[in-house]
Amino acid sequence: MADNKSNARNLKVDDGFKLGSFLKSWEMVLIYILIVINLVLIAARPDLYFKSGTLQSIIQSGMDVGPLVLGMALILMLGDIDVSCASVMIFASMCTGLSIDNGLPMGLAVLIGLLGGVFCGAINGFLVAYIGMPAVIVTISSSMLFRGIVEIILNVNSLKNFPEFYVSLSWNNIGGILPVSLVIFLIMGAVYVYILQKSRFGRNLYIIGNNAICGQYSGIDVKKTKLMVFMLMGFMSGVASIFFVGRMGGSVSSSMGTGYEMNAIATCVLGGISTNGGKGKMYGPIIATLIMAFLTYTLGLMDIDANVRKIVTGIVLITAILISNFRDKSDQKKKSLVRAKAAEAK
């Protein structure tokens, strides 16, 4: 009886600490970082920061990676990785562009682009889930393959006919204040938060990421789930192609968008998603996307060259991982201490 009581009391104490641990959670740390970057920006260029349109253009500049980040988070959750998403993005935009060139109606062309993305994702997913090949190898070679196909079809030409709403999606603001791309990104983010944190499908991903065999034995169709996640990634690459083409002013060529996959992975990792799988929440990557946008823009304002910015991105990435690793370790120590104390009490 006494044991039961002390256990119950322990649980309550944990509940009491919730606010404190919430403030110290990784998502809140990310928000602090975002605020710090904003303060630095205000201190450095106050005139520019409060000028209308600056904030909007900062946010818009980072939104084309957004859909890729959301899709990538689920893939990393499985413990897999997808480095082909930039190529899929270009492939999807080529599908849309070619359909419009051939006189198909606009809605159908957009749909074909999205389906092209899903198709590529399905190929990746099939090879990873059903053949059992490692995701790194599959996606490295399939990124060569998809970009190669675009190179073959487009050669050195570029496609210029895209729906007009592509450009306005990436560059317009609602009422002159709220960027359209941010609104769409947040809506998609909310859907993904629901998928990963609340739905059965998302919780299955955590189990598979932690231990796929355990997931298999507890009745999850691991192969099918993996295939679904890769198809979702392909779909999100298709969505990203809309924003990407819009950012580029409505044209696409085969050499565009290299390095987007690495940006997406870096953003996810900064958002606290472990590449080993099964760890992290969806809120993190959403905030991290904004951080990346602000970071690159701030460094750009300080007249730092694009290539030197890469150094900063790299250092930020590694520091973020080091901090989160360190936090995990100290958490584990605390937990084991608590457990030891509980055992002593018994």
Binding site: I137, I140, G148, I311
Partner: protein
Amino acid sequence: MLLCLLSQKGVIKVKKEQSFVSKLTGSRNFGLVVVLMIIICVAAVVTPSIFMPNTFIGMIQNNAVYGLLAIAEMLVIITGGIDISIGSILAFVGVVTTRYMSENMQIPSFVWILVALAVGLLCGMLNGLLVGYLRIVPMIATLGTMYIFRGLAFLVSKGQWWMPHQMTESYQLWATRKIAAIPAIVWILIVCFVIFGVFLAFTTYGRRIYAIGTSRESSAVAGIKDSVVIFRSMSLCGMLAGLAGMLYTANYATCVYTIGNSYEMTAIAICVLGGVSITGGRGRMDGVVIAFILMSFITQFISLLPGLSVWSNAIQGAIIIGAVGLNFFTIRQAEKRALKERSELI
């Protein structure tokens, strides 16, 4: 006990009774050699000029850098890690040696080889520190350093191009001097293949790399310090990438900070094609050598065909997916067969 011994003897007998043909088809490199043969046959019909000795040596010379990077990548992949920063290390080291060589032409050229090895080693040591001692996931740690080294390469070069007339002849001769009609860079590659092949197969330290890759925990129990082994193999990887960077600039006699972009992907592809398991613990140098020759053949073959140069990415991607898929399929079949044989014995 006796029964056990008997059954063991039985297994040995079964193995001895294997015919030469089944031994050949059971070898891990069999599929690879078959693909190589097919491509050679196709090449013999379509482009006979590929078999001129000069073309062949030129082909190896042009791809030698990939070979060096593949050895570097192999050392890391066998530990169960991955290093995607080697392309950036190549660029960084290439820029460092070229810049200081063109500024100090009086210094003898062998110094630059030492500089390249040292700088590459330092870069590799940074990777090794992050992965081995601070235990960051290899993919992410090297993603961060990939950004950092690329940025450093830009900083050192200040965006400058170097042309052949800015390079001393003795520097270029490190790659192009003909010894017995074979360029020095190919000799260096052959020496590296032999040294690292022996190193991995026969030395204690080489075997430790395999042990770590097979199981980090059990090798730790067996008294192998995993952090040290990983640190050393990533340092060696960096050193080889540095050597490749110096030889790249010497071979092509040009240098700019963007060289070696996404070379790491080709290196990984060669490794995996050569039977190095991406999950670690498996892979031999002979497979990598065959895969390297196969890869060079493919690129050379495509470049000899008129109007096909845009196809190179797609064809390479498709071949890698096909070869690795076949490899995984045969491994699975072999495992199934082994399981069956075992159950029959029981």
